[in-house]
């Protein structure tokens, strides 16, 4: 009966396209990682672990790109969660024009990342940029830096720009989470004489946990796949100090070194798909409990 009414062939087209353009390239990657596939010869030879040896050899800096990617991911997860929560708490009470502020803070989240990158190329310009000009105007000129040019600041600047763009999105999710917490918990706690801090720790945080798990997962996935913000702001410079996995993969691709590019992609694919498998299982179980 069920099969007659809801025939499985409805989903075949979707599954087929998903397999061909999404899953197959991922699986193919594992084969091509062990080849010398490149743009300057038509032959593709099996070369064993050579690509991986090259990636992890001490003379190369691929390990730095992996470290950069992880550093970017952890930093943006922490910053976006902390700031997103702070903004959500602030907008959840005692403020006029809540809707207006919400729209403003969320605005950067819908602007193309490419555009945000170009805007901040101008804002972070050491000589004429809005940031340094503002600092000088406020008498804080000693804080002005060569943001994207100086290796000590370039990566921090990228993290800051990505946080500026994405924090509104996280705030929106957490705000919805806060609004779904019943007021009665807080009223009961107030009668029991709990302090504001106590209420936050014992009521807000535990009940906000599901939303916090979701935002953390979203930020993790976003962080590991980072590409555009780095590509536009520094393209990996100065030197290779701000390169991340996806920018290096694009560089290898542009140079026609497909084997190495695929090996890097496959590494990322393996890590994220395995992690995603456990996260999605965890979440669907959470969903069934409700």
């Amino acid at each position: 009966m069920r099969n007659k009414l809801y025939p499985s062939y409805f989903a075949w087209g979707t599954i087929l396209l998903y397999l061909v353009f999404f899953v197959v390239p991922g699986v193919m990657g594992f084969y091509y990682s062990f080849t010398d596939w490149n743009s300057y010869s038509d032959e593709i030879n099996f070369i064993g672990f050579d690509n991986f040896k090259e990636m992890f050899s001490p003379d190369e800096n691929y390990v730095d790109f992996i470290v950069n990617t992880l550093n970017f991911t952890v930093s943006t997860v922490v910053l976006k969660t902390a700031l997103g929560l702070a903004f959500a708490l602030a907008l959840n009470e005692g403020i006029r024009m809540k809707g207006f502020h919400r729209v403003m803070i969320f605005m950067p989240a819908i602007v193309p990342m490419l555009v945000v990158g170009l805007i901040f190329k101008s804002v972070l310009n050491p000589a004429t940029g809005l940031l340094n000009e503002t600092l000088r105007f406020l008498g804080l000129g000693f804080l002005a830096q060569k943001w994207l040019v100086d290796a000590a600041w370039a990566f921090k600047s990228i993290i800051a720009v990505d946080t500026w763009k994405g924090v509104g999105y996280i705030m929106i999710i957490l705000l919805a989470g806060l609004q779904s917490i019943s007021k009665t918990y807080y009223e009961a706690a107030e009668i029991d004489g709990a302090s504001a801090w106590g209420r936050f720790i014992h009521i807000t945080i535990p009940l906000l946990m599901p939303a916090l798990v979701v935002t953390t997962v979203l930020n993790l996935l976003h962080g590991l796949k980072v590409f555009e913000v780095v590509y536009v702001l520094t393209n990996g410079g100065p030197g290779w100090s701000t390169d991340v996995l996806y920018t290096v993969i694009f560089k290898e691709f542009s140079m026609g070194r497909y084997g190495v590019g695929t090996a890097l992609s496959s590494l990322l694919f393996l890590v994220m798909t395995v992690a995603g498998y456990f996260v999605i299982r965890l979440m669907s179980r959470q969903g069934e409990e409700h």
Partner: protein
């Protein structure tokens, strides 16, 4: 407990400061798009002395903006329509016909939310399918990339549509296709609008797919055209600003009109309610 007035004022002032912090960089571009070349060179917040509408004319002419605008529109519209149709069909069957295989397939599809794309080997697939450097290729890729998250959102929604209506349709002698098209599909409208807006904006903002798979500049969407324009005209921030404004305006307008749906889509699945 009445809060102190001073505290309330401080709170509101802080909220305004925050809003400015997020809005000023966007405003900066708008202001500078109306200055002349010299005025915009320093990209300051000073207001333009007179409005230079000519920047927009120059950008439209030199940035080949009209063509890239229509490319973007084609990619975003077509991929959204295709993506919604594919995701709705799959989510409907997965949610209604919970056989073991379908449960596995649902799980397998939403795993795509976490899977990163292997752009290098995808090139090979694009060559085999003859889709590399074609507009259809970009539409198909955008649609497929949107499937996992769309199926995830729709699956939850289909579950909340009562089955009694399906049964009523069956009694009236609907075929499975007709049942889906004329009874279920209209009921899914709220989630379709949400997913549609999110996918449209995602496709409009996308940069990486055309960067990898379109080398013919006449097929470039706005994002790629703007990036290229910036490479050529870096010294003319007034023109670059005008170009940025025209690329961003469509998504801002959609956002302001469809705010309710966007927020619904972004928060569903993460917050029960």
């Amino acid at each position: 407990m009445k809060k102190h007035l001073a505290l309330r004022i401080a709170q509101n002032a802080l909220a305004w400061l925050l809003s400015l912090f997020f809005f000023v960089p966007l405003l900066l571009v708008l202001i500078n798009s109306f200055k002349d070349r010299l005025g915009a060179a320093s990209m300051s917040m000073a207001l333009p002395t007179k409005l230079e509408w000519s920047n927009y004319a120059v950008v439209i002419e030199q940035g080949r903006l009209v063509q890239s605008f229509f490319n973007s529109l084609l990619y975003a519209t077509a991929s959204t329509a295709l993506g919604i149709a594919l995701a709705a069909l799959a989510a409907y069957v997965f949610a209604r016909n919970g056989s073991k295989l379908n449960r596995f397939l649902y799980f397998f599809v939403i795993l795509g939310i976490a899977m990163p794309v292997n752009f290098v080997t995808l090139t090979k697939v694009m060559q085999w399918t003859q889709l590399i450097n074609t507009q259809i290729g970009i539409v198909v890729l955008l649609a497929v990339m949107s499937i996992p998250f769309s199926v995830f959102l729709m699956y939850g929604f289909v579950g909340s549509v009562p089955r009694e209506l399906d049964e009523a349709g069956v009694v009236d002698g609907c075929s499975p296709i007709r049942l889906f098209v004329s009874i279920v599909f209209p009921l899914l409208l709220p989630v379709l609008v949400t997913v549609g807006i999110l996918n449209f904006m995602g496709a409009w903002n996308d940069f990486i797919l055309p960067l990898y798979y379109l080398n013919d500049s006449s097929k470039w969407p706005m994002t790629l055209a703007v990036y290229n324009f910036f490479g050529q005209f870096q010294v003319n921030w007034n023109l670059v600003s005008a170009d940025i404004v025209m690329t961003t305006l469509p998504v801002i307008v959609i956002y302001l009109l469809g705010q309710r749906y966007i927020i619904a889509g972004m928060t569903s699945g993460s917050v029960k309610g």
